[in-house]
């Protein structure tokens, strides 16, 4: 397996090309600029490849919509403030049932915020983000290799459900370099494109639109989308568990905070504190069942995120009042350390042991 040292942003770009992405549209924003830069260089080498640095984020997402209507594998990327601008387009993609991959390398917010890593766009990503009753699948990788691996998965999910898919990273994952291999990444499956607009010569005309004045038709469209989302909830939940079997306390964290949590848990285990980790890989659909099952045995759950408490809402919904939820959050672009989390979790752990006695 040939490995190369690459930034997360660049790795996303190469993985997209190998996954059959032929259209990339983007507008620069730190900390994801290396992805746009990589695509500017790489796309002209791809047969039929198109790279456009658009005039705005809104233009970029609508170019993605246009390319997707024409049947291309299309992608855009941005960071938090830019993602807010893309939400209208994502809502239209969902309404039109068009596949697309959208990458958000999250930075500190709200507003202009800063350019440091954060996880504060969790609720925006997992609740649709734009207007209307829709959902997007959200993948949350936690290393450069996982960023690369998430891209072909995202394109396949987007095509098989005809729905936008979000990859939610952050500034740290984007800027960091790690060894990465692309050996196994290729476009494997071909999806029937019986809906795309290619000119109606020799076949009945098609149309793609989201304007449904007839309330009955709009309601039926909403229920149709709802059934599709239920299918995603049943079939597409992805998560990882780490040392959960004998755990007395289970940390729940994703992306960057999950890898920090793993470092903390290794230290906690050296001190014989039985702490494990459940790491959601899909943030939506959320791995509700594994958390609920774990709660039949474990009483203490520890939510750790780089925000003031967004993931914790899904953990609460999953637990339905069972167990006790501990929390530690660092918003604003701060990257917490494994040692710091080790101290906080061990304090909570000892306090819980006291309560149990």
């Amino acid at each position: 397996m040939k490995k190369q040292l690459m930034s997360g942003n660049a790795a996303l770009g190469e993985a997209a090309v190998l996954s059959g992405c032929t259209c990339y549209f983007g507008y620069p924003i730190t900390p994801q600029n290396e992805l746009t830069e990589y695509m500017a260089k790489r796309m002209p080498e791809v047969p039929g490849g198109t790279f456009i640095q658009s005039e705005s984020e809104i233009a970029a997402i609508n170019m993605v919509l246009g390319a997707s209507v024409a049947g291309a594998r299309a992608m855009t990327s941005s960071s938090s403030p830019g993602m807010s601008l893309k939400q209208e387009g994502i809502s239209y993609l969902a309404a039109d049932e068009l596949p697309a991959v959208i990458i958000n390398m999250v930075r500190g917010g709200p507003g202009m915020g800063n350019i440091s890593p954060a996880q504060s766009d969790y609720l925006q990503a997992t609740r649709g983000g734009g207007h209307g009753d829709y959902r997007t699948i959200v993948l949350a990788p936690s290393s450069v290799q996982e960023l690369a691996d998430a891209v072909p998965v995202a394109f396949d999910l987007a095509d098989s459900y005809r729905n936008p898919v979000i990859i939610l990273g952050d500034g740290m994952l984007g800027q960091m370099m790690e060894p990465v291999s692309f050996d196994h990444i290729r476009q494997e499956k071909v999806y029937p494109k019986d809906y795309i607009l290619t000119g109606a010569k020799g076949r009945p005309a098609r149309k793609i639109h989201s304007l449904l004045f007839d309330t009955k038709l709009e309601e039926e469209h909403n229920w149709k989308l709802f059934r599709k989302y239920k299918g995603m909830e049943q079939n597409e939940v992805r998560f990882e568990t780490f040392l959960v079997d004998d755990a007395e306390m289970v940390v729940i964290a994703y992306g960057t905070s999950a890898r920090i949590a793993k470092g903390a848990i290794r230290r906690l285990r050296q001190e014989n504190l039985k702490v494990g980790l459940i790491r959601p890989i899909t943030l939506w659909p959320f791995p509700t069942n594994i958390i609920r099952e774990t709660a039949t045995r474990v009483k203490d759950f520890f939510v750790f995120e780089m925000s003031t408490g967004q993931l914790i809402e899904d953990v609460r919904l999953a637990l339905e009042g069972r167990g006790h939820i501990h929390f530690y959050g660092r918003p604003g672009g701060v990257i917490p350390t494994p040692v710091e989390l080790f101290r906080i979790v061990s304090r909570h752990y000892y306090q819980s042991q006291q309560v149990k006695k």
């Binding site: 490995k3 190369q4 040292l5 730190t30 900390p31 350019i115 500034g171 740290m172 800027q175 960091m176 370099m177 790690e178 060894p179 890898r259 920090i260 793993k262 470092g263 903390a264 290794r266 990257i335 350390t337 494994p338 040692v339 710091e340």
Partner: protein, 179 residues
Amino acid sequence: MMIKTIFSGFGGQGVLSMGYTVANTAMFEGKHVTYFPSYGVEVRGGTANCTVVVSDEEIASPVASEPDFVVAMNQPSFARFQSILQSGGLICVNSSIVNTSAARHDIEILAVPTSELAEQIGSIKVANMVLLGAFIRASSIVSFDFMIKNLSQILGEGKSQLIKLNKEALEMGFNYVKE
């Protein structure tokens, strides 16, 4: 074993490429490695730094709150990073332009007249590689022989005409510490 190093200096002194060179060497040696640059408002003449973590096992965080080693190419970096170095840690400095008289007493200092040594081989531009050679000698963070042997692969395409000069600079720094 997990070793965290911060490479720091003025933007344009090549501190990011020092870190990248170590990280790439460690990867080719088969180790776990992360490279995390400071990013954002850094400009030529401003300050730049990157953190490289080399480990036998999976790396939780690419950030170093208490690094084992610091490489400081200029005075502001020396002041900033000597204060977070682990007690007993080593700081390698470009003593041509860094005054180390205000250093903590619980850390080790390796002072290398980097600019003068680089000028001896004809280019101040490879000052970073001189200090890198010295740092590798003092830290053994990666194998120096392995790095020299695979330098063209490590530095990557586009640097082929500079391999000889870089090799000379690395050896100059490495041998300076030997003596």
